[in-house]
């Protein structure tokens, strides 16, 4: 596979930098009071909805981004007209997510970045130059091993990574086309399910006795 090239253009990248440069005042914390404390470098409580930006710096190393690209595509390989995650920028999304300043994504930052470093080391341990360079057999063996449910950190990494890959992928128009989401188009009237579908449902309801 050729190296992953970020899908983020220069203009957008500059926008992030300038937005991050704006100094943000931190609200005083008050004991037992529910107030809002601004997340430094967050997008704020009144962002421009029509021109969304995520103004924080990206923290993945190029190596981690390359690992991400390879792994997203192992999880959800291209199929027919449906592109691979790396072809539609999903690795950039994973980078955006783990780089986010918000509390909710902090635990993922650790799990994902450590997991990527681990998987690279694991490939080396199996004689490859690294996970990116490893042949498909080694890659598949490692991912198959960590996909098995257990209490290990490697499996926890797999689960979170897969969650981010699938969420990042299916929330795009390409993902909609694959999974079969056909909404978000204005219609004059709402048709509801068609007769064939209703008949299918009817049969299934009958089968369980309702």
């Amino acid at each position: 596979m050729s190296p992953y090239v970020s899908k983020i253009d220069r203009r957008t990248a500059l926008k992030w930098l300038s937005a991050a440069a704006v100094t943000l005042a931190v609200a005083p914390t008050m004991a037992r009071a529910a107030t809002y404390v601004k997340t430094p470098k967050g997008y704020g409580t009144d962002p421009d909805m029509l021109n969304p930006t995520s103004p924080w710096d990206r923290i993945m190393t190029d190596r981690q981004l390359q690992l991400t690209a390879v792994l997203t595509d192992i999880i959800l390989p291209a199929e027919g007209e449906h592109p691979a995650p790396s072809a539609i920028g999903v690795p950039d999304f994973v980078n955006e997510w783990v780089s986010s300043p918000y509390e909710q994504t902090k635990s993922d930052q650790k799990v994902i970045l450590e997991g990527l470093d681990w998987i690279d080391a694991e490939a080396k341990g199996r004689g490859a130059k690294g996970f990116v360079e490893a042949d498909s057999g080694v890659q598949m063996a490692i991912v198959t091993a960590i996909a098995k449910p257990d209490a290990s950190a490697a499996h926890a990494f797999f689960k979170r990574f897969r969650h981010l890959t699938l969420g990042g992928y299916y929330s795009t128009p390409e993902g909609f086309a694959d999974i079969g989401y056909i909404g978000n188009v204005p219609m004059e009237s709402y048709p509801g399910p068609d007769a064939t579908m209703k008949a299918m449902l009817e049969e299934r309801m009958k089968a369980i006795g309702i």
Binding site: L50, L76, Y102, T172, G180, P186, D194
Partner: protein
């Protein structure tokens, strides 16, 4: 400096209560000044209608900056507002307070469910000896429900004849769009349990009216609606009020006191300009408070002077008391019957097309249920626009990754459903708001301190909700995926979490036990009116906003009548 325009009425707040008050008063020819704490907001220009989650930071998920997701219309707020705290009394259960800072308030991102309260709901004490009766009956409010529904535009046409679940007179309501696949399935299962299902009553218009376009069955209403199909005061009530030439609006105006004259009448109000920090006073012949229930109480309680040591309009001592929310809990299920169904467009009018009105009035009358008041059920599911939650579907898949996973994702997409119970809370002495003795907001205004405790009535109801949801999921051949706990104490949502906060300045027949009379007019100050949810003496399961709007319309008309008679 004297203000250039002499106003007849100052309206504080621009949400459901304030928006309707200003609309009625301006149309009746009174000169109105609306003061709104938040910024100006224009849904036509700002709503990200068709944007996908992929265009939003973090695929649009909730963050502390946007607690209901990036595209949610809430401006500068949510459970917390920068620099404007509130507190919970030590030892009490948490109360959560949702506040936006924008013109139109919470009507910009509300759930649009618009149910009429029924005849029992106005006389609950007479039925079971709990809580208090309202000073008005259903019949007194019914004509105002009619008028309000005609302006708002609400679905749910049809005559159901269900107990304590009033139908609107024919010709008022719009048709509800046809049910989605999972809604057809749920209807069957509820009916098998002997529980009737009703078409949703939602404030989403189905045919063009008053310069608004009909819903086009795409896009999420929580973002707002640029074509004005859903009801927001910013698109439906404020523009026609402005068009009369009788309404002026000042945004970023945080009102903190009602100013009293020596004659015992309200002179006007004082506010802080949230941008410049300046304090400004304005005067008018009458004042309407509609800053949202708890904030209205905060203004009353902070309006202390020599004659009103406990705050304005508070000789009864009940300002801030009898705060209520809705009882809420939810469960979800995975339904194999819905797996592998063909693609369909489940967008519809964004919210559900069906709901389940409370069905147990007769059982409760016979004392067969371990809780006295009812709840309705709201439903969810379908093949909705994918966001981050879609990743969970892989948990059902027996292909953990690689070739074959796409097929599994398609197979499971749209096979999860959810239920939410929304139940009546009975007012109690333990739930109230007062001024915190120590803490002030960034403007120096003392903040609210909440006290909260659920009673056995609500806790018993929450347990029943969960058991009902589990039964229905089971009847559908499915498995519960969240909301397992059936101990009501643990299942029940936090106070305020359902965002139906009402009470704090209740109406009544008796000046000793209520803040306002049946017209929303303060017993102590005849030119001071309250037109938000603060005046509700009880909080039936039916979501409160349609009733807040109808009361505001009725009471603003009364105010205009009194003004015309020279009685204020």
């Amino acid at each position: 400096m004297k203000q250039p325009t002499p106003y007849d009425v100052i309206v504080v707040g621009s949400g459901a209560g304030g928006g309707m008050s200003a609309y009625v008063l301006a149309k009746r020819g009174l000169k109105v000044l609306m003061l709104e704490a938040g910024r100006d907001y224009k849904p036509e220009e700002e709503t990200p209608m068709f944007n996908t989650n992929a265009e939003a930071p973090l695929r649009g998920v909730s963050t502390p900056d946007k607690p209901f997701g990036y595209y949610d219309a809430t401006v500068d707020g949510g459970w917390t507002v920068p620099g404007e705290p509130y507190t919970t009394a030590p030892g009490d259960r948490e109360f959560m307070w949702w506040r936006p800072r924008m013109l139109g308030g919470r009507t910009n991102h509300w759930g649009r469910i618009s149910l009429r309260f029924g005849p029992y709901d106005f006389k609950p004490y007479s039925r079971d000896g709990l809580g208090v009766d309202w000073p008005i009956s259903y019949d007194e409010l019914a004509p105002w429900y009619d008028k309000t529904e005609k302006i708002v535009g609400i679905t749910g046409a049809g005559q159901l004849g269900l107990e304590n679940t009033p139908d609107s007179p024919p010709g008022i309501l719009h048709d509800t769009p046809t049910p989605r696949l999972h809604e057809i399935m749920m209807t069957r299962a509820f009916e098998a349990m002997g529980i009737p299902v009703a078409p949703m009553r939602a404030a989403v218009i189905q045919k063009p009216m008053d310069g608004r376009s009909a819903c086009f069955y795409a896009t999420s209403c929580g973002r707002g609606c640029s074509i004005k199909a859903m009801f927001q005061t910013t698109t439906v009530l404020i523009p026609p009020a402005l068009a009369t030439g009788n309404l002026d609006i000042i945004t970023d105006a945080m009102v903190y006191t009602v100013d009293m004259g020596k004659d015992g009448r309200a002179k006007g109000v004082t506010y802080i300009d949230r941008v410049s920090g300046e304090h400004k006073s304005v005067t008018a012949k009458a004042v309407v408070l509609a800053a949202s229930a708890a904030e209205t109480a905060r203004i009353l309680l902070n309006s202390k002077d020599g004659r009103n040591p406990d705050g304005v309009a508070n000789s009864s001592g009940t300002a801030g008391k009898y705060l209520m929310d809705t009882v809420g809990t939810d469960s979800g299920g995975h339904i194999p019957m819905l797996e592998g169904m063909p693609s369909r467009n489940d967008d519809g009018m964004s919210g559900a097309h069906i709901y389940v009105p409370w069905w147990g009035y007769q059982q409760q009358a016979r004392k067969e249920l371990p809780f006295p008041r009812g709840y309705h059920i709201e439903v969810g599911g379908g093949q909705r626009m994918p966001g981050m939650g879609i990743g969970d579907l892989a948990d059902y898949s027996d292909v953990p990754f690689g070739a074959g996973l796409r097929k599994q994702m398609r197979h499971y997409y749209g096979s999860d459903i959810g239920f939410a119970g929304r139940g009546e809370m009975i007012p109690n002495d333990d739930c109230y708001a007062e001024i915190d003795p120590d803490i002030k907001d960034r403007f120096g205004i003392p903040v609210l301190r909440f006290h909260w405790k659920w009673s056995e009535h609500e806790i018993g109801q929450a347990a029943h909700m969960r058991k009902t949801f589990h039964e229905i999921i089971d009847r559908l051949g499915g498995k519960v995926t969240y909301g397992f706990e059936t101990d009501g104490e643990k299942a029940i949502a936090a106070g305020g979490e359902i965002i139906h906060e009402v009470g704090c300045a209740r109406m009544g027949d008796n000046p000793k036990t209520s803040v306002v009379n049946k017209w929303g007019q303060a017993w102590d100050v005849k030119n001071l009116f309250i037109t938000d949810g603060a005046v509700l003496p009880s909080n039936p399961d039916k979501n409160p906003t349609l009733t807040i709007l109808s009361l505001a319309m009725r009471n603003a008309n009364y105010l205009a009548d009194e003004a015309a008679k020279g009685n204020l």
